[in-house]
Amino acid sequence: MKVALDLAARTLARLAVLAAVLFLLVPLLVACLLSFDDRSFLGAFPPQQFSLRWYRAFASNPTYLDGLLISLQLGLVAALIATTLGTLGALALMDPRLAGRDALEAVFLSPKFVPTVVIGFSLLVFTARLGIFDPFTRLVMGHVVITLPFTLRAVLASLIGVKRSQIEAAISLGASEARALWDVAVPAARSGIVAGAAMAFVLSFDEVAVSLFLSDAFTQTLPIALVAEMRANLNLTIAAVSTVFLAATLLLLLLLDRTIGIERLAGDVGARG
């Protein structure tokens, strides 16, 4: 009886894992397959004939290409700023003797729990009041705020192994505090810096709510263009874009696995709150 119950419970757990994996993967495969559909309309699944027409449609759509360029620039600038500030903050927060460390960490992580629409809307009101109307500047401001917690968290997670005594040792050998941090802690934090920067870029590249408030008709990010298209009519160009995103994600994953390792990465980006 006990053994039968155990077997049932374990089978149930296995089924849940299988169901979860299928739930996560099947839609992506469906979209991937549809992106090669040769029909000019959105028809029943599965497609009968295949072509690259939707990829050509993406490559010849100026709205998407302009958006892509802006999103890439925005992602790079925001990730650079957020990674720099996040790394600096993490180097201070790693010190266990820092007064009010938990409160300071909570402040740095707080943008994660402010709804992105609120960040976008409040920055819109704020920048308008200050007379800042350049959309790219506005977008960078919003994107740095939402990505900062992720870079700080990733760097902090990678610094867990670094002992204060190692830094003290460098100081006792004559290094200044800044020099000791730079020589001892920063190299140790490399995996977190890379993971945080990647996370920041990806978050910025995919952001909708903040961008919707802060962009204007001439400066649109790729996600804004995609969402507008998805709401107007569902065509398969977006399936092609999604498949390109999927391929880029796999490439990034492979790269991160080579440089940091998935196991470590899961620890650095997975730890939340």
């Binding site: 849940a16 739930f23 469906v30 979209a31 809307f121 998805m230 980006v269 709150g273």
Partner: protein, 279 residues
């Protein structure tokens, strides 16, 4: 001297947050207390609580209820699926399974949410191959309220990898020796998990649930893209207040209310849970 360097390291980030988040949110809070003048971008003179009172009317409470109802269902499901997923990713005897699951979760975390929501529309929408499965959840795929199912599925796709990765951290921190000890005392494997591991993981499970709930109620894209205009979250309500009607003060009041609710869920409820579930 040491205090000096900490200050220099913390100052840029804190200054940025104060200027680009603290200041703007404070301004938004002030804006929410100003009267609205129809047809004008500028708020009126004086102070009023009218925009908050308005939110207490049944017509508006419905939106909050809708947001929380879908959010609660989705967070529960993401915990039910995320816990076995995380457990397998940490404790599966096969290294390939562990690595494969972790790669899947991290991959989804970095994959574009817009692309994933589009994929869900393609797979679960009325023309999609999974629509018959979706119909089992209560509404025919052409029924307007099927949009709720779609939004729920979209949010689950969003929260599940996050919840599972949080729980990976929780399970990693618990020694496998505990289960081995229980097994050596005669417990079956599932017994050991239910009676030893889950109670120890309770704080992690609670905070994963609350983070998922906060992610759902603050989400904007899923109802926008999959809601077909039928599912209106408070986030969407706030956006239309601003974009369609130009009623900044009312949009600000909704925003401030959402902010308070999100922080209550994440910080308030977790403090409560810590008290109820002692470590």
């Amino acid at each position: 001297m040491k205090r000096g360097i900490h200050l220099w390291l913390l100052a840029p980030g804190l200054l940025l947050l104060a200027m680009l988040m603290g200041g703007p949110v404070a301004l938004l809070a002030l804006e929410s207390l100003k009267p609205f003048i129809p047809g004008s971008m500028r708020p009126g003179e004086g102070w009023t609580l009218a925009h908050y009172r308005e939110l207490l009317q049944p017509a508006y409470l419905v939106y909050f209820w809708e947001t929380f109802r879908i959010g609660l269902i989705v967070s529960t499901l993401s915990l039910l699926l995320g816990a076995p997923l995380a457990f397998a990713a940490v404790r599966s005897p096969r290294a390939a399974v562990r690595k494969g699951l972790l790669a899947l979760l991290v991959g989804l975390l970095v994959m574009s949410l817009i692309a994933r929501l589009y994929a869900i529309e393609m797979a679960w929408g009325s023309l999609g191959p999974l629509a018959p499965l979706g119909a089992l959840l209560g509404f025919a795929p052409r029924h307007p309220r099927y949009a709720e199912v779609l939004v729920g599925i979209g949010l689950l796709h969003f929260t599940l990898p996050v919840v599972a990765l949080m729980l990976v951290g929780t399970f990693r921190a618990l020694s496998p020796r505990l289960e081995e000890a229980a097994a050596s005392l005669g417990a079956t494997r599932s017994d050991a998990v239910v009676s030893i591991l889950l109670p120890l993981a309770a704080p992690g499970l609670v905070s994963a649930f609350l983070v998922a709930l906060a992610m759902c109620i603050s989400n904007f894209v899923a109802p926008l893209v999959l809601g077909r205009g039928v599912v209106v979250f408070t986030t969407s309500l706030m956006y239309t207040r601003f974009a369609d009607i130009g009623n900044y003060p009312s949009g600000a009041a909704i925003g401030i209310t959402m902010l308070i609710l999100a922080f209550l869920v994440v910080y308030g409820l977790s403090a409560l849970a810590r008290r109820l579930v002692p470590r």
